[in-house]
């Protein structure tokens, strides 16, 4: 009796584990979600924006002198300009097209490119990580 139990456990697990090897479709592609230069720049942009927001908040809290605030604000804005320039230099439509040509997920799909979470169509930000879509 116990051997039957073992055999059932092995067979059920075996089917469960090995079935994907013989499946017809791949619902994902390895490497598709790898960090690209665009992802890195967008991340930097999001972090820079957050830094700028915090800077303004801390200035209003009296945590920063006028001089410090102006210097840091300029620094954040300069960095934002460099990031935007970097994004413009990348051929974004081409990247999007290349990604879209692959099977599975693409930036146009309902997956966040940063964290991969499901996002409703038309949303401007990912509900999971806050990244602009």
């Amino acid at each position: 009796m116990i051997w039957l139990l073992y055999a059932a456990l092995v067979m059920i697990s075996g089917y469960f584990v090995l079935a994907p090897l013989f499946g017809k479709t791949n619902n994902f592609d390895l490497g598709l979600c790898a960090e690209t230069e665009l992802d890195r720049l967008l991340d930097r942009k999001a972090v820079n924006n957050k830094g700028l927001n915090d800077l303004e908040f801390e200035y209003k809290m009296g945590r920063l002198s006028d001089l410090d605030f102006k210097q840091l604000e300029t620094s954040y804005k300069n960095e934002a300009a460099i990031i935007l320039q970097g994004i413009e230099q990348l051929d974004v439509p081409k990247i999007e097209k290349e990604k879209g040509n692959k099977k599975g997920l693409s930036r146009a799909s309902t997956k966040c490119p940063a964290c991969g979470a499901e996002t409703a169509p038309g949303k401007k930000f990912c509900a999971d990580c806050g990244r602009r879509l």
């Binding site: 994907p20 840091l72 979470a117």
Partner: protein, 545 residues
Amino acid sequence: MAEFGNFCLLFALCLSLYALFAALIGASQRQPRIVKSAEKAAFAAAGCTTLSFAALLYLTFTNDFSISHIAESSSRDLAVFYKIAAIWGAHDGSMLLWVFFTALLCAIVIYQNRSRYRDMMPYVLAVLMIDLCFFLSLNFFLSNPFKQLTQVLADGTLQKFMPADGRGLNPLLQHWAMVIHPPILYLGFIGFLIPFAFAIAALITGQIGTTWIRTTRRWTLLTWLLLGAGLLLGGKWAYVVLGWGGYWGWDPVENSSLMPWLMGTAFLHSVIIQERRGMLKIWNTILIMLTYLLGVFGTFITRSGVVSSVHAFSDSGLGHFFLIYMAAVLIASLGLIAARRSIMKSERQLDSLLSRESAFVFNNLVLVAACLAVFFGTMFPVFSKWITGVQITLDAPFFNKINIPIGLILLLLTGVGPLFAWRKTSLESLRRAFFWPAISAAVVVAVVFIGGIRHFYFIICMALCTFVLVSIVEEFFKGALVRRETKGESFAAAVVNLTLKNKRRYGGYIVHFSIVMIFAGLAGNAFNRETKAQLATGQELRIGS
């Protein structure tokens, strides 16, 4: 049922080995089908360890004392509540609990990320499975909870033996905290495997950005919380049951739980700098590697018998395996970091020493120093025996002498850190920010001094607690005022929304508040008085002034 539990354990080991190799092959050949199969194998392994754990639970409740582990830790008259605790009341069962939790956490992480980070996940899976395979191997081959008692008959043959009753759970462990303390603590140890696995996967795939940190942040926080809760519950148990006259005795096993907590705290703080400023990438990877390894080291201390402790299981002969595993993980991780060092350079430098980044770095150094001090003190008996041949154990006074000043510096940083702005802060701004916390601390020092208390550390601790408390209140107050002005909300709504909209920052302050409460409690230790005396009937003894 014992055979079934044992079979499930062995089958789980086979499945996790398959998952490990399939994940690596799938990643190297870029075959999603093989990776998917590896993921399913990890789920199946989790299912099998669950069945194995359920089998041990069943055997415990049905009083099957032919099982060595159950005969050792349970008995017929043991209350149901404690029968559950009996599962982890001895070494073999506690190892099964460890394996059960590891397999479950692995399955949850793999399921959570089933459709994201596809390039990183095979390597995450491989690291998770290496850990699971190691512990499953130990559990099955060297520390098997389904081992049956046998007796030698007159003709020399072996026969199963079932005593009429078990030895029962150690009375010291028959306390409500012991039912929940080990599972919570184990989850606290094991959970750091997840950020470690993502860190290694990030190194392998060269994605050294913040993806792995963002993904594992909640896991890290939860694990850190559970480890902290486990430490506090252990303190509660020690206070009530052990009769040390306190909640913390700097016992090696207690220390081995504290070390990953300290290192994890450093990690939680320093990743913020990586996310915000792109700095400390190598440092963060080393921190999470050490945090994970310290968790393994904790179970090594508990199970190897290398240092004597009231909490430790007797020497189970597993020590060498733990040492080999830890050395292999350390060498492999450091090798990977060395190989990737060119892409792990900081994107920016510190703008100023008077900045929040600097406060975080200093906080990290102090936390690591505290961890090293505890590590050195804990392992001193081993080191002293290696060097001098004589085993010298360091007691509480050593640990207190080293760690009280370090703890107070940390408390100071808890208050000072948030008063600095990111990147740089002018002295004038600092003067304004420090004004009320410093004045409040000075008032408390004066009140305590006038009250006749002269204990140096108590006075300093209360002053720092006040400083931190006022700085936290000030943060909420000023933040709410800004929000009220900009959003037109009432003050109460502004406080609530401020916290909800920036949980990371203001949630952190709430945690800092709890740290203040803990330190205020610890300060009470200054008034502990312990006296031993023999009294005749009617004789009185006055303790303290």
